[in-house]
Symmetry: C2
Subunit: 179 residues, 2 copies
């Protein structure tokens, strides 16, 4: 087997990427502490062509050397904005018609394994996924404002995943279903 | 919605975890540069109850402060060993009956979206997934020894994902199918 060359990858230029239709999906980062994790979300967001990232609270914002390093520059291709209060970001998204889902261990959460997007409404629906702080997770006041929650089933001793890794898993499932 | 309490998570103790049946899946890290990425693989490996991680070449090994920090201690629950040459690790796994797959952009790769494990043989088959260096990916000599390759489809300008994030996506797909 031969590894693919860079030419064969046919990557869009930033201009071509900007003109591409985006996945109807916005990511909300609720007080993510590590700029490396934030940068990884930009990188994954670029890979899957998501609409936007909303950086909230203490979450670092570009320009940031750490974000740039882990995003490989994807913070320049993925749209983003900043909101001081995550609750305000969620309210704004709800008012704009988004289905807002927390990725969090919540009693009423749907397992990522059994995620059925058709249950969330009509075609054309746009989604927002909220990921939380590395220690505290998504804040309870934010969870209270979400339409639902998604949980990643686990069998280990920690019952905990790196937030950028869990972001990869959940964004992958949405990319598969929505693109 | 109420966040789940730690008690409700019913996490196994390290002893209970050690006694659990494991996913028939080994992860091979081919010269992964960042101990943070290696630690994240331990954390994901704990979450999904994988069999083992084989750390190869320049990949950091426990005890390591950086691994410990990003693994949250999961390097103590997930079995691991070290092999100086990744090719030797792959040969050993092949000889032990594993189906060895590189996670890499390879011309003949199967898209993660179309992954069909039944195509890889009989029930009871065990898998090894090889993840590569942050810059070079999985080495060509290692790719040459694998039974096949898996590629994560992407639409972005970078066509590149953090190795621990791509590990999350691929391990999640195997966890769903094999557990």
């Amino acid at each position: 087997m031969q590894k693919t060359t860079n030419d064969e990858l046919r990557r869009p230029t930033p201009e071509e990427f900007a003109a591409q239709a985006k996945l109807p999906l916005t990511v909300v980062l609720d007080n993510v502490r590590s700029a490396n994790n934030t940068g990884a979300f930009f990188r994954t967001g670029d890979a899957f062509g998501i609409e936007r990232i909303v950086l909230c609270g203490i979450t670092a914002t570009p320009p940031s050397r750490e974000i740039h390093k882990s995003a490989l520059g994807a913070e320049l291709t993925v749209a983003w904005d900043y909101e001081a209060e995550t609750t305000a970001a969620v309210v704004r998204l709800r008012e704009a018609g988004y289905t807002v889902l927390a990725v969090e261990q919540v009693r009423e959460a749907v397992s990522l394994e059994r995620l059925d997007l058709s249950g969330f409404g009509q075609p054309g629906r746009r989604f927002a996924l909220v990921f939380g702080n590395e220690v505290e997770g998504v804040g309870q006041a934010v969870v209270d404002l979400c339409h639902g929650a998604i949980e990643i089933p686990q069998v280990g001793t920690k019952h905990s995943l790196n937030v950028a890794v869990s972001g990869g898993m959940v964004l992958w499932e949405f990319f598969k279903r929505l693109r």
